[in-house]
Symmetry: C2
Subunit: 373 residues, 2 copies
């Protein structure tokens, strides 16, 4: 893939990434389409209504259902879902870890039980790439060894050792496969672990940056630690994360998290928050977030956010959305998801504009000033 | 409203109805948007994707939530939902009857308990019109006294007596209100009851046709009786239903029901079948209906129906829909609903074309010939 840092504003970066399927401008937020569909939306919603350039899908879920083989047969994720721009797929490690009480990492990989039928599976650094070759993901993530925070120094050390070992196996395997003509248009990102231990993060960053990954991801954050601890960890490790490659902070986060981490040099994000919160009635706006179910909206003619130009705000009132939410109408989920994703994608766009003008610090101040709820 | 029978093919009719909000060509199928939203869809889906000219909403549900007053304050159903074409609203009688074990019709109206909070309410011929004035429905339905089939001759006689009495009260009230400047752009349809008793149907038809309704509806069918009994009842009563007004068969039905009743002179239909079946995975096609969950579709690249030009068939494969349905993805509901509604609306359109060419009998034969599942 092509990658270029086009502008900087202090540590914040505006980059351009070109994959086989799309051009991605950063900072970039990637909507999460776990099962090859953003919940309640389809490929046309993502391209034509939201203009998302890249979305995320989950290897763990798709490997189990409908299976990598089915997706391959359907022309990969692009042919299957008909979203013809970029896909990033995670490695499945996080879900094998979080959805399974019996998940057991060992030196070679992670054993887990399917959350669907209880069947036993084993993810290794190679097998998760094989699944992602079948998906034809534009960006593949490697298998890493996650630890729940807080963790002992010993467990973090073990995680680091495994993560680095698996990273090496993954990059070697990918080079081998590409030499065999497999995954030629696909890219691979390493994942840096180390919990909130700055020294562990430094070691892992340096080890992974020595390998020939197309980009570097920061994993294992936003798993329950305080926001400030997350920001400090990112800040502490950033000098050791190669600035000539995209930097992706996995599973993050709130609008504030995006702004804070862009300020620290992160380029890419993904999070279920905009879509999951939408389904719970929580809507993001330029002035903060609120829940649509409140009685004050029953006859409110205004859109969710009068400054918002999304499909939902252009067409529907808070009163109608309040009604749909309270009546549990399916229509609500799509309208709220479209709004929240527009908010996140637009926030990324606004950050980019501020970086291009070298005004990111002002943007950040204004962002906080506007928030009243 | 303006009404004209433009073409006939034996007893099948192609008419043109003009309300304040849209021109409706018949035979017409009206998608059901119980709570001022077709489940999983919005006003733009209905206008721009499906091009529906009229949809139905339920007085019972909207009266209880968000309430007639809220809808009035939001600019009626059009302002509230942003669907700017025609709305037909039922009277609420059917839901008060079917959703409530304690529903008690007496001479003046129907007492019922809210299915939401158990509160007590009383629908009268006037009160259901008041709600519909607040909704600004293009077509209002009168309160009728339904009977569960099979019913005794006595119960049918009582139903008839009440239905005719309430019809008179309704039309008198509507004329009075219009004289006061209320509901000037609104129309009112009478509802013919009588179960499957041909004589009762004749009496009720004649009594209601003597009143100044804008259209006549056939109620109390498709409530469990055999299809043939429904068709025979419609056929037997049709000579007594004024042919200079629209004829609407309420709550019907399958594609076959539409074809059979159009052949007998019905102009308008509504039914939850296309949307409810969609949510259960049952899809309607030119060759019959099938359920998308079957294993044979797991890697099927073809659309639901290769002859269908709907949004879903133009964009997505059976394989993807099979996956979305099995994974219970919200996305499925919208795609399947769009397809099934397109099928119903298109069936109505094809019937109209056949009537215009005076080839309805051939159309009907071909319709049955193509059905293989």
């Amino acid at each position: 893939m092509e990658f270029k840092v086009e502008y900087k504003s202090a540590n914040a970066r505006a980059c351009r990434i070109k994959t086989t399927h799309s051009e991605i401008l950063t900072p970039a937020f990637m909507p999460v389409g776990t099962l090859a569909a953003i919940k309640s939306l389809d490929a046309i919603d993502m391209s034509e209504i939201l203009d998302a350039k890249i979305i995320l899908a989950n290897t763990y879920h798709l490997y189990l259902r409908p299976s990598s083989k089915v997706i391959k047969q359907m022309g990969g994720l692009h042919g299957f879902s008909k979203f013809d721009r970029s896909f990033l797929t995670d490695s499945g490690g996080f879900q094998a870890f979080s959805l399974n009480k019996i998940s057991k990492p060992d030196e070679e990989g992670i054993k887990f039980k399917s959350h669907i039928d209880g069947s036993l599976h084993y993810f290794t650094p190679k097998s998760v790439l094989d699944a992602q070759y079948d998906f034809n993901s534009d960006i593949m993530m490697i298998l890493d060894d996650l630890v729940a925070l807080p963790a002992s120094k010993e467990r973090i050390e073990l995680s680091l050792k495994r993560t680095i070992k698996w990273a090496k196996e993954a990059i070697d395997y990918h080079k081998l496969k590409q030499n065999q003509g497999v995954g030629m248009g696909q890219n691979i990102f390493g994942i840096i672990q180390g919990g909130t231990d700055f020294e562990a993060r430094r070691i892992c960053s340096q080890a992974l940056c020595e390998m020939d990954f197309d980009g570097l991801a920061i994993g294992g954050l936003s798993v329950g630690e305080e926001n400030e601890v997350m920001y400090d960890t990112v800040e502490a490790m950033m000098p050791y994360v190669d600035n000539n490659r995209p930097r992706y902070l996995m599973g993050v986060g709130t609008p504030e998290d995006l702004v804070e981490n862009v300020a620290r040099g992160v380029d890419m994000f993904d999070c279920v928050m905009p879509t999951r919160n939408a389904r719970n009635g929580t809507l993001f706006t330029s002035f903060g977030k609120f829940n649509i179910k409140k009685a004050e909206f029953i006859t409110d003619h205004s859109p969710i956010d009068s400054k918002c130009s999304c499909y939902t705000c252009k067409n529907f009132s808070r009163a109608y959305l309040n009604h749909l939410f309270k009546a549990k109408e399916l229509t609500f989920f799509r309208l709220a998801s479209l709004h929240n994703l527009h908010y996140y994608l637009n926030l990324a766009k606004q950050m980019r504009e501020a970086i291009i003008k070298n005004e990111f610090e002002n943007f950040k101040k204004e962002f906080y000033r506007q928030r009243t709820c």
